[in-house]
C-alpha cells in the first residue's frame, strides 16, 4: 500500500476480475440475478446501518 506498486496492483486486479468472470460463467442468468439480489439487499442493509449510525449522509442512498 504505497506509491510505486501500480504494476503489482494491476496484476492483482486482473486476477480478481478473471476469478469473478470464471465464477459468473458457471452460473445461469437466473442464478446470477439471485446472487446479485442477495448482494444488493446486503449492500442496502449495510448502507442503511451506516446512515443510522451517522457515518454516511442520508443522501448516500438516494443519490
Amino acid at each position: 500500500m504505497a506509491p510505486g506498486n501500480e504494476a503489482e496492483w494491476a496484476r492483482l486486479n486482473a486476477e480478481k476480475r478473471e476469478y469473478h468472470i470464471r465464477a459468473t460463467r458457471a452460473l445461469s442468468p437466473s442464478e446470477r440475478v439471485a446472487q446479485g439480489q442477495k448482494l444488493s439487499q446486503q449492500g442496502v442493509r449495510l448502507l442503511a446501518s451506516m446512515i443510522r449510525g451517522g457515518h454516511a449522509p442520508s443522501r448516500a442512498f438516494w443519490s
Partner: protein, 170 residues
C-alpha cells in the same frame, strides 16, 4: 420530507406481482446487467413496459399490488399521472422500482422484448434485457455506473454488439 429507511430491491417480489397482474415487462437496469454476466449490487428494480395507453391499467394494478408511492413525494399515483408519465419511480414493499416505457427503436419495448433472455426470479418466469439492448441503454445513459457496466460486460463477453441509437449516433 425525510425518506424512511430504504430497503433493498426484491426482484422476486416485483416479478411475482407483475406476472400476477398481467403486466408485460422486461427487466432492464442492474438486474439485467447481472443476468448478462456482471454481478453487482443495485439499489432498485427497473422494468421496461410497452408504450401506449393499453398498458396503463396493468401498471395501475401493479402499483396497487406493490403498495407503491412516488419516490420524491410519497404520493399514490392517479390514473392520469400514470398515463402521462414516461418514467415512474416509486418506493414499494419490494423496494424502489423504476418503470420506463419503451423509447425509439432499437430501445422500444418490442425490440427489447424480442431479444430478451428468458429466465426466472424466485421461481417466477421473467425476461431480462439481452446484451445488445443493455449496451444501447448504457450508451445512451452514459453515467459513471453505465460506463463501468460496459467495461465489465466487455471483459466478460469480448467486443460488445452496438446498434445505432437515434439521437446518439445519428
Amino acid at each position: 420530507m425525510p425518506h424512511p429507511e430504504p430497503s433493498g430491491p426484491d426482484l422476486n417480489g416485483v416479478v411475482a406481482d407483475a406476472n400476477a397482474v398481467g403486466l408485460s415487462y422486461v427487466v432492464i437496469g442492474g438486474f439485467s446487467v447481472m443476468a448478462n454476466g456482471f454481478v453487482r449490487a443495485t439499489k432498485d428494480s427497473d422494468l421496461l413496459v410497452p408504450d401506449g395507453s393499453d398498458v396503463d391499467g396493468a401498471i395501475q394494478r401493479f402499483l396497487d399490488r406493490i403498495e407503491a408511492t412516488r419516490l420524491h413525494d410519497d404520493k399514490v399515483l392517479s390514473e392520469t399521472e400514470i398515463a402521462d408519465a414516461h418514467h415512474i419511480r416509486v418506493r414499494s414493499r419490494h423496494g424502489i422500482v423504476d418503470i420506463m416505457r419503451g423509447g425509439l427503436p432499437p430501445l422500444d419495448y418490442e425490440t427489447v422484448a424480442a431479444a430478451a433472455i428468458e429466465g426466472e426470479a424466485g421461481g417466477e418466469p421473467a425476461r431480462f434485457a439481452g446484451l445488445r439492448s443493455i449496451v444501447g441503454f448504457k450508451r445512451l445513459a452514459d453515467r459513471p455506473q453505465d460506463r463501468r457496466d460496459l467495461e465489465e460486460l466487455e471483459a466478460f463477453h469480448g467486443e460488445l454488439p452496438k446498434d445505432e441509437i437515434p439521437g446518439l449516433d445519428t
